[in-house]
Amino acid sequence: MFPRNFEYISASSIDEAVRELGNAEFAKVMSGGMSLIPMMKLRLLSPDLVVDIGRVGGLDQIKDDGDAVSIGALVRHTQTAGSSMVPDALRQAAAWTGDVQVRNRGTTAGAIAHADIAADQPSAVLALGATMVAHGPGGRREISADDFFVDVMTSALEPNEILTEVRIPKSGGSSAYEKLGRRGGHTDYAVAGASAWVDKPNGTIQAARVALTGVGTKATLARGVAEALVGSDGSEAAVSAAAERAIEGITVLEDLYGSVEYKTHLAKVMVKRAVMKALAS
């Protein structure tokens, strides 16, 4: 549990942090450090330089920003979980991330940038159609959540880019997150988790987005489910039928907590539960 030697810089601005990232062969950004530090201690990751953005001002707020809710890079899971501005799916996912200590220190943006295959919040930002705001040497750019999660612990961020803000569009509708954790219930990483956003202004679902976590290499949109939901009446039968399409296009991975068969089944159960919960809220 001893990291290799590394340089450490506490940046006072994002611009400074971006500059520093360009000065090392292998640099990592740290916000809460809840995933980075354990990986460094296990020597699974040995950056030459850690750029700590924890003291950069102005990034620790959740703001109403007109057509979107803006979550700054240093907003902790606890803040996200407790904010009435944040849609239910992300609030719930943040509330079920890690344990109390992790939630008090780790950040929503950090968990999203880390892109763990079984993390909770990536599926929520996918279902909510969020936009990721990154800062790099070329300035600011926006990345759609749909394009953000690339592979196992790999996001669309460039090595010298920093996720500075997560923007959740105010698209109305309702959302929810459901998971089965590794220690049962909602405890621990997701064996399978699903986020759902639905817009059902009258008797018919007009729009829907559903995303899964824990079952494949990354958080992934379940487009087939959304397609089946749109136009339906949102009845339990309709949702069950839609949930059958949960893993379309996803390669389900086996682990100690589930066979491919079980995870496939669980994905459907979680999708159904998330959609029903979203419809009920």
Partner: protein, 793 residues
């Protein structure tokens, strides 16, 4: 005289302020001038020959002071063990590695990080061999774990204990006859009692400091048996026992993982002698998983033959127990502890055969309960399956087969062991007559009517603990291997100081059990000195009476009894001194509130301070009386103690996911007399939590190549407080008759009595689908799979 007022009372733990304030000192807090740090290169292979070790690059790295391989330490011999059966562990791998995580190279550097950097730069070449992992394959001897051993089966334990061939043949025939009867059923299940990582919150840590001026070795170690560590260091390195200072300061959890002597505990002292500097090694969490002992690891078939009205005619257990690659302290003796309780609380004939096999995995040894949770798991699972098969209430079936209270004291169990005291029916009846028990079934049935899968599970248990009789030496449990003369005795030393305070030095140190509080209560009960005026210390071989250690729920029953007797000796002497000072008869002296007074004349009194001052001014003592006011006692009980009890729980199972929710937990334990109910309850909380952890979450998984797939807490879901329900505890009290306190021991009972209760409840919930058994851990995937297979038929 008040002898029991503080026994049985809730006294707040005297150790907590230091722990809560962060003032408690652990081994890793020890920082000595010029101290060096160690790291190990460990095997990534389960079974391989070592073809080369290249440390050229590492030896030139900053801060590196020494790099050692087996060539440097081979002359010291392998690691000493208490029960020497099987392959002893080399201090560093000698040409071969036999499990993932085995220590191959030792690096010493000026900082821990430098040592780790250098270790990472050492290139070891291996030629991989096929690994023996599967227990049935190991038992078949199709491939050998160690080519120089005749068989992978190191020892086979059988029961009844000590039965000769004729007796065994007669028993086998009797069982066959029972099976052939038309009015009997035979129920049989093959079940896994999976491997666990006995995870202490504080990983093991060692600091060794050789001083060639004082000619003494000081070794700090986070150990449950520091005297054995000191003895082993002395024996291996040629240092007399009285020149090894073994110190176990605060020990942050033990559970058996620290009931061992490890190679690092020998290597650090040796390296300190080589380098003339103190050396520290603190294992990482990953090393704790791969290279400190693991627990459980049984595969066995339990079989009951009985009548359709609940009379069990025979119980059989046939299985294989995984010892791992090398045997350490108690390794092969752990299943033997299961033999002690193989027939549980029951009177029916019991036959047992357990093959202890060596595999290319980390050594197994004592983990909370150690052999007894495994044995009770099989017995109580199959009792449940049998009850279900004949359609009888599992509690009624148990009542029908218990050894009756009239058989005690010293009832002899069907497997051949005399048990101190027991009243099993009273304990179980106290549970089933309780309102909470009846409520549990109401709650279950309500849940069922709402469409939930709900179940109630019950288990009884008996435990053997409080080791114990020094005669255990004759059964092969000998501490002589560690260079120690002491057998399984308890020891205690009590001294009253001239200011009226008392010091108690005990032969067993806590790893969370609250010894400071409990021993203060024991001594206070005899001397009438306030609890806060009694200081309890432990864990230093230089100053302590000859000691053994903390394990097998033995501390109170053995070392507590020794302190009790030492306190009585001090009291008896103090009574003579007080009588002399007060001009009374010593038979009339009573001790209370820090003073001695004459019965019937409370105004005629003398304080403990005055008595002690007199004792240390011998000219004021009665003629011929020796000076001083301290006493030492060794206690060797006539038997072990045999606690018992009943546990019940209510679960629901998520139909769609297989997720088990544990909703309520009831315990009715009997550990004899209770010294401190709060501490006893705390022990039950932790014990039951660990049983629940085994039932629902935890499993050390080796793949077929011998890779440990669960080497850290991300992959090994250790039970936590959020995973367990509120524990609803109650107790019956059947005092032991083999120690003066009447206590039995409670450290392991919770674990022994709990895992099967959870499984029994889940099977109750799923019985309607036809599920008969699910192997632990009952992770949702397994429960779902069982439901799926059952409904598919």
């Amino acid at each position: 005289m008040s002898t029991t007022s503080v026994l049985g009372g809730v006294v707040k733990r005297r150790e907590d302020p230091a722990l809560i304030k962060g003032k408690a000192r652990y081994v890793d807090d020890v920082k000595l001038t010029g101290m060096l740090h160690a790291a190990f290169v460990r095997s990534p292979f389960a079974h391989a020959t070592i073809t080369s070790v290249d440390s050229a690059e590492a030896s030139g790295m900053p801060g590196v002071r020494a790099i050692y391989t087996s060539a440097d330490v081979r002359h010291l011999g392998p690691l000493v063990a208490q029960v020497a059966v099987g392959k002893a562990r080399p201090l560093l791998a000698d040409g071969m590695v036999n499990h993932v995580g085995e220590a191959v190279v030792l690096v010493i550097a000026e900082t821990r990080a430098q040592a780790q950097d250098a270790a990472d730069s050492i290139h070891v070449e291996y030629e991989s061999l096929s690994a023996v992992i599967d227990l049935k394959q190991a038992a078949s001897d199709a491939a050998k774990t160690h080519s120089d051993l005749d068989s992978n089966i190191l020892i086979t334990w059988t029961a009844p204990f000590g039965a000769d061939a004729d007796t065994m043949a007669a028993l086998v025939e009797k069982i066959a006859e029972a099976k052939a009867r038309e009015d009997t059923v035979t129920v049989s299940l093959e079940m896994v009692n999976q491997r666990l990582l006995p995870t202490a919150i504080e990983p093991r840590s060692v600091v060794a400091d050789w001083n060639d001026g004082y000619v003494e070795m000081t070794i700090f170690s986070s150990s449950q048996m520091i005297s054995a560590v000191a003895g082993a260091v002395g024996k291996t390195l040629g240092i007399p026992y009285n020149r090894v200072n073994g110190i176990a300061p605060e020990v942050g959890g033990g559970f058996g993982v620290k009931l061992n002597v490890y190679n690092d505990e020998i290597l650090m002292p040796w390296a300190s002698m080589q380098l003339g500097a103190p050396v520290k090694f603190t294992e990482t969490r990953r090393e704790a998983a791969t290279s400190s002992i693991q627990g459980r690891g049984w595969l066995a078939t339990a079989t009951i033959t009985g009548t359709r009205d609940g009379e069990v005619l025979a119980y059989e257990l046939d299985g294989i127990c995984d010892m791992g690659a090398y045997t350490q302290n108690f390794t092969v003796a752990i299943p033997f502890l299961g033999v002690f309780v193989a027939s549980g609380q029951y009177k029916f004939p019991t036959r047992l055969k357990l093959d202890c096999v060596t595999t290319n995995t980390m050594t197994t040894d004592a983990y909370r309960g150690a052999g007894r949770p495994e044995a009770i798991y099989y017995l109580e699972r199959i009792m449940d399956a049998y009850s279900r098969e004949i359609g009888m209430d599992p509690a009624a079936v148990r009542l029908k087969n218990f050894i009756p209270a009239e058989a005690f004291p010293s009832a002899v169990s069907p497997v051949g062991f005399a048990m101190d005291t027991g009243d099993y029916a009273t304990n179980l009846e106290a549970m089933i007559d309780s309102q909470v028990y009846r409520d549990l079934f109401v709650e279950r049935d309500e849940l069922r009517s709402q469409g939930h899968l709900a179940g109630v599970g019950l288990s009884t248990y008996v435990e053997v603990c409080g080791f114990g009789p020094s005669g255990l030496v004759d059964l092969g449990f000998s501490w002589a291997g560690y260079g120690l003369p002491s057998a399984f005795n308890g020891s205690g030393l009590v001294r009253v100081n001239p200011d009226g305070t008392a010091n108690v030095i005990i032969g067993t140190g806590p790893s969370g059990q609250g010894h400071k509080t409990t021993w203060s209560q024991i001594v206070s009960s005899q001397l009438g000195i306030e609890i806060d005026d009694i200081r309890v210390s432990y864990g230093d071989t230089k100053d302590a009476p000859m000691m053994v250690g903390t394990f097998g729920s033995r501390s109170a029953a053995v070392d507590g009894a020794a302190a009790f007797e030492a306190a009585q000796k001090v009291r008896d002497k103090a009574a003579k001194i007080a009588a002399h000072l007060l001009e009374a008869s010593d038979a009339d002296i009573r001790f209370e509130d820090g003073s001695a007074h004459v019965a019937g004349s409370p105004d005629k009194s003398v304080t403990w301070a005055a008595i002690s001052q007199a004792a240390y001014q011998p000219h004021t003592l009665p003629a011929g009386m020796e000076g001083g006011l301290e006493a030492h006692a060794i206690f060797s009980p006539a038997n072990a103690t045999w606690p018992f009890g009943t546990t019940v729980c209510l679960v629901t199972v998520d139909r769609d996911t297989g997720d088990v929710q544990l909703r309520r937990w009831l315990s009715m334990d009997d550990c004899g007399n209770v010294i401190n109910p709060m501490i006893v309850d705390g022990q039950i909380h932790g014990g039951v939590a660990q049983g629940i952890g085994q039932a629902l979450f935890e499993e050390a998984v080796y793949d077929s190549n011998g890779n440990l797939l669960t080497p850290g807490l991300v992959d090994y879901p250790l039970v936590t407080a959020v995973d367990v329900p509120l524990f609803e505890l109650n107790r019956t009290v059947t005092p032991s008759d083999i120690n003066p306190l009447g206590v039995k021991g409670i450290g392991e009972a919770g674990t022994i009595g709990s895992a099967q209760t959870v499984v029994n409840a889940v099977v109750d919930a799923l019985a309607e689908m036809g599920v008969k058994h699910i192997d632990m851990p009952l992770r949702p995937k397994r429960v779902w799979q069982a439901m799926n297979e059952a409904t598919k038929g």
